[in-house]
């Protein structure tokens, strides 16, 4: 440790807690890395995500919870990072520049393999969405593209929050099943 902590018991405590967190993390690092690189479709983004997880863990992670259920805590942070990725995304920024009704769909191609998987999954998404009723499609679009909450969508569409949640979850479950059915690795 580069810090001079001789006369600072608090700092020493923080430092040892930090070490413990990182040592717990190290046991799951390869598992998390795999989760990130697959769910973000990019090795580069996975590295960034891992770095972000490390920072979040050190700053805000509850050490007791982490000791009790390490994997759940780490994957909770990881899940939130995946869910928030649109804020950090730099490469696939077509939606920032192009109005939604003329959106370009550009397969990012950092590496051919990743790009092929991305395109393949894109096809599945298009196919699945084409099978929805216009109303279901609208609900899904509001949630995933306009990023409205279930409550906001429910108000706008005159539906119950429960129905909105069920519809969105159904589509995402179906998609994850179809993605899984391809035998991705």
């Amino acid at each position: 440790m580069p810090e001079d902590t001789d006369n600072q018991p608090l700092s020493r405590h923080v430092s040892s807690e930090r070490d413990e967190k990182l040592s717990i993390l190290s046991g799951f690092e390869s598992m998390l890395m795999r989760f990130f690189s697959r769910s973000l479709y990019s090795a580069v983004d996975a590295d960034d995500a891992m770095q972000e997880l490390r920072l979040k863990l050190i700053k805000g992670g509850d050490i007791d919870a982490l000791r009790q259920y390490p994997q759940a805590c780490l994957f909770r942070i990881a899940t939130n990072i995946v869910c928030d990725q649109h804020r950090r995304r730099k490469v696939r920024k077509a939606d920032d520049q192009v109005p939604l009704d003329t959106a370009v769909l550009v397969c990012p191609s950092p590496s051919p393999e990743e790009s092929a998987v991305w395109c393949e999954h894109t096809r599945i998404v298009c196919k699945t969405i084409a099978q929805l009723t216009p109303r279901e499609r609208r609900v899904f679009e509001l949630h995933r593209l306009e990023r409205l909450s279930y409550d906001q969508i429910a108000r706008q569409m005159g539906m119950s929050t429960r129905t909105v949640r069920r519809q969105v979850t159904q589509v995402l479950t179906l998609l994850s099943e179809r993605i899984g059915g391809l035998g991705t690795s």
Binding site: M31, R34, F35, R38, S39, L40, Y41, A65, Q68, Y69, P70, Q71, A72, C73, F75, R76, T79, V82, C83, Q85, H86, R92, K93, A94, D95, Q97, V98, L100, D101, T102, A103, V104, L105, V106, C107, S109, S115, C119, H121, T122, R123, V125, C126, K127, I129, A130, R137, F140, R144, L145, R165, T169, L172, T173, L175, S176, E177, I179, G180, T184
Partner: protein, 322 residues
């Protein structure tokens, strides 16, 4: 609590929802820990759920929505189809008087038309194309003079449906397929049923002159030129039909040269490749047909080039000029 009798994919979906919420109870954290450790398949399903989240967060989902909505754009609207249908109905009524009749349909650059044929079949004529229709009691004959058309053919046991091109005939009883006359070669893609491709330069119409036919089934493609087959039968993904019917270009490992010539078919503003070195670059993506400006911007995003506007062209220039 998440029920154990649910399939892993549904359990994963519910856990993903619950874990990404602002507040997660200690009980849930403990249960999530047990769930993750119970079976490696759980982590796998959870990852797929996260992938589904990412892949739908991109404008992709929107392109899918757009693609489906293309049908209701003005040029495809019901009134127009109804108008064509009405014209055709009228022509059916007067048809016997001028038997056999031939009708010609054309599209401008960028235009697409749905043509309801009087046997219940539909022809969709793509950009810059010409097609003649002549039906008789024994054969339903369409001549594709230039361009591209998709045919949704009504079943009729007694009358073949034939598409004549300069380089060969495509013949069916009832199916869906696409014929593209690229000038020096004709490409046929079958999306449903079976079609016969009869390749004959001498006189495609005369039965006795025909070379042995090639039969294609759904998901297959073949190309032929004036002097014979250009390619063997190839597999193509036709699960979503022809991209142009959805109003999109669907490029998949397509060279920039091929993509540009495809884009230009639909537009009076042309894309021009300024540096030869760019031609072989590969492009992946789905783009709206006809929106050349956005397509050029899309190319700029992913390829090392920049687009320079001219009067009636957009020139693509390499950013790594020596």
């Amino acid at each position: 609590m998440i029920e154990h009798q649910l399939r892993p994919v549904s359990q994963a979906s519910q856990w993903f929802e619950r874990i990404s919420a602002a507040e997660v109870s200690a009980e849930d954290m403990a249960a999530f820990e047990r769930w993750l450790q119970a079976d490696p398949a759980h982590m796998e399903a959870y990852t797929h759920r996260a992938m589904a989240w990412t892949i739908t967060g991109q404008p992709i989902a929107n392109a899918g929505i757009d693609g489906a909505a293309t049908v209701s754009k003005p040029r495809w609207n019901l009134r127009r189809v109804a108008g064509i249908a009405a014209v055709l109905l009228l022509s059916v009524m007067v048809w016997p008087l001028f038997f056999p009749s031939t009708e010609t349909f054309t599209t401008e650059v960028g235009e697409q038309r749905a043509i309801a044929l009087d046997d219940g079949s539909t022809a969709y004529l793509n950009t810059n194309s010409t097609m003649k229709v002549s039906y008789s009691g024994s054969v339903r004959r369409v001549t594709l003079t230039s361009g591209e058309a998709f045919f949704d053919v009504a079943k009729d046991r007694n009358r073949h449906f034939e598409v004549l091109t300069d380089m060969g005939v495509v013949r069916v009883l009832g199916t869906r397929f696409n014929v593209k006359d690229g000038g020096n070669q004709v490409t046929v893609v079958v999306t449903e049923g079976r079609v016969q491709v009869l390749q004959d330069m001498v006189n495609p119409v005369l039965e006795q002159n025909r070379a042995s036919p090639v039969t294609l089934t759904a998901g297959e493609q073949i190309a032929f030129g004036a002097s014979g087959l250009v390619s063997n039968i190839q597999k193509v993904d036709t699960s979503r039909g022809m991209p142009w019917r959805r109003g999109v270009h669907d490029f998949y490992n397509t060279s920039l040269a091929a993509a540009v010539s495809e884009v230009n078919r639909y537009s009076k503003v042309k894309l021009i490749i300024g540096n030869d070195t760019l031609s072989t670059l590969k492009i992946n993506g789905i783009f709206r047909i006809g929106d050349v400006e956005t397509i050029a911007r899309g190319f700029e995003e992913v390829l090392p080039l920049h687009a320079v506007r001219n009067d009636n062209a957009i020139v693509l220039l390499s950013v790594r000029e020596p």
